[in-house]
């Protein structure tokens, strides 16, 4: 989880901010604060799918899953454990 949080923070900082020294709060709303816009959300989804090998369904692209660094990290860890469980079951 800590590792995921670090990777997501780095991705957002590099891709969506002017200044790397700005610290993002892990609970801050990325949409409300304008850190991420609508295209940004889609780029974030593409990055998550590519990096973690998970498939994000359209209906999962909701603020509850993607609106803060904490929510994103939690969502990814849940998807990853689900993936492991599915593999074990097969």
């Amino acid at each position: 989880m800590e590792q995921i949080r670090k990777q997501i923070t780095e991705f957002i900082t590099t891709n969506f901010l002017f200044d790397e020294s700005i610290t993002l709060g892990v609970e801050d709303s990325l949409l409300d604060t304008g850190v991420i816009d609508s295209t940004g959300v889609l780029e974030l989804v593409a990055f998550i799918e590519e990096t973690y090998g998970i498939k994000i369904e359209d209906e999962e692209i909701v603020p509850e899953n993607l609106d803060s660094i904490n929510n994103i990290s939690l969502y990814i860890s849940q998807k990853l454990s689900q993936l492991t469980a599915d593999k074990a079951a097969n």
Binding site: T13, F16, E20, D32, D37, L42, E50
Partner: protein
């Protein structure tokens, strides 16, 4: 050389990524020892998988269209139509490959070039497409463009990918398209985004009501009070989110996953009466505000507002690097910059 005489966007004075064309002035960019930027490195694995993904998305679109075609009361798709080559080509694809009932919608920002209007008429006539043009009153557009020309009111995320002026216009286009689709029960909304503008993963996507709502709120809040109320009436009304939640369309931008070759696209379009404009700058073939929007962005932020998109296209191999450099690092057409500045009284 006196540094004050240097143009901010002159490639001879700038370090560029040797693979794409992002400059050292692009925020947070890092070059490795080979001179390749962090964005190129980050995209390497995704690019390797792109051909398979594109094929997958072509199938996905075929399936989606099979499931909705002919079922809606009036139109199968609404097309955000600027008259430029990318949206003209997308429209052609929807008509000729899929035979959809399409409504083309042009947002007239009062800077649409006469050539673009000629092309809109020629293409919609040739393809048998209904067309509507939407123009808000000039005083509102003028104050919005004057505000965005003077200040970067939107977030960094937005400004890294487009100028403030363009972002304001795109907000109109996106919400008008969605709003019209909802009101007319049109299941698909199509855009001519180039392969560099948005990732393949988002090329077919059901619009997400809660995400749109939050986004529109953030956009409205970025605007000064003087235009907020007026602007809000063009956005999706709050009541729609409950009343019409099943009518939110699926967005598609097919150019992300069909073969993209500018020259071939132009030749195909010329076959249906479209003509390549000569009086607009090299990056936009339809808007007479574009050169000015680019100029103010460059002066303020020191990188070209199209560089992200064009760098993506160079990286993907759909545009030669030299052509990308030519597009991004040539000076803006000064006549057009002046035309817009005068019209906006700035």
């Amino acid at each position: 050389m006196n540094p004050t005489t240097q143009r901010p966007n002159d490639p001879t004075n700038l370090r560029l990524c040797v693979r794409c064309i992002l400059p050292e002035t692009f925020p947070n960019i890092k070059f490795d020892t080979e001179g390749i930027c962090n964005h190129c490195r980050q995209e390497e694995s995704a690019l390797a998988k792109a051909p398979a993904k594109k094929a997958d998305y072509r199938r996905k679109l075929d399936d989606l269209i099979a499931s909705v075609k002919g079922k809606a009361p009036s139109y199968d798709a609404i097309m955000a139509y600027s008259g430029g080559k990318d949206s003209s080509y997308t429209l052609k694809l929807l008509r000729e490959r899929y035979d959809l009932r399409v409504l083309a919608l042009t947002f007239d920002n009062h800077f649409v070039s006469p050539t673009a209007f000629d092309n809109i008429r020629a293409v919609t006539d040739a393809l048998g497409v209904d067309h509507i043009s939407f123009n808000p009153p000039w005083p509102l557009m003028k104050s919005l463009f004057r505000i965005t020309a003077r200040d970067d009111i939107f977030s960094a995320a937005t400004l890294l990918r487009a100028s403030s002026i363009c972002t304001a216009c795109i907000a109109f286009v996106k919400s008008l398209t969605a709003k019209t689709a909802i009101e007319m029960s049109i299941p698909l909304s199509a855009f001519g985004w180039s392969p560099g503008q948005a990732p393949i993963q988002s090329a077919i996507m059901k619009t997400n009501a809660s995400l749109i709502r939050q986004n529109q709120k953030a956009l409205i809040n970025s605007l000064p009070d003087t235009v907020q109320v007026q602007m809000k009436s063009y956005f999706i009304p709050d009541i729609y989110y409950d009343l019409y939640k099943d009518r939110f369309p699926t967005n598609v931008h097919p150019l992300a996953f069909f073969d993209y070759d500018e020259e071939r696209i132009k030749i195909e379009l010329e076959g249906i009466g479209w003509k390549a404009p000569t009086n607009t700058d090299t990056n936009s073939t339809n808007c007479l505000l574009n050169a000015y929007a680019n100029q103010v962005h460059l002066e303020r932020l020191k990188f070209h507002p199209y560089v992200w998109e064009i760098a993506n296209m160079v990286r993907q191999g759909v545009m030669p690097r030299a052509e990308g450099i030519e597009k991004i690092y040539s000076p803006q057409n000064s006549e057009q910059v002046e035309y817009a500045r005068k019209k906006l009284e700035l």
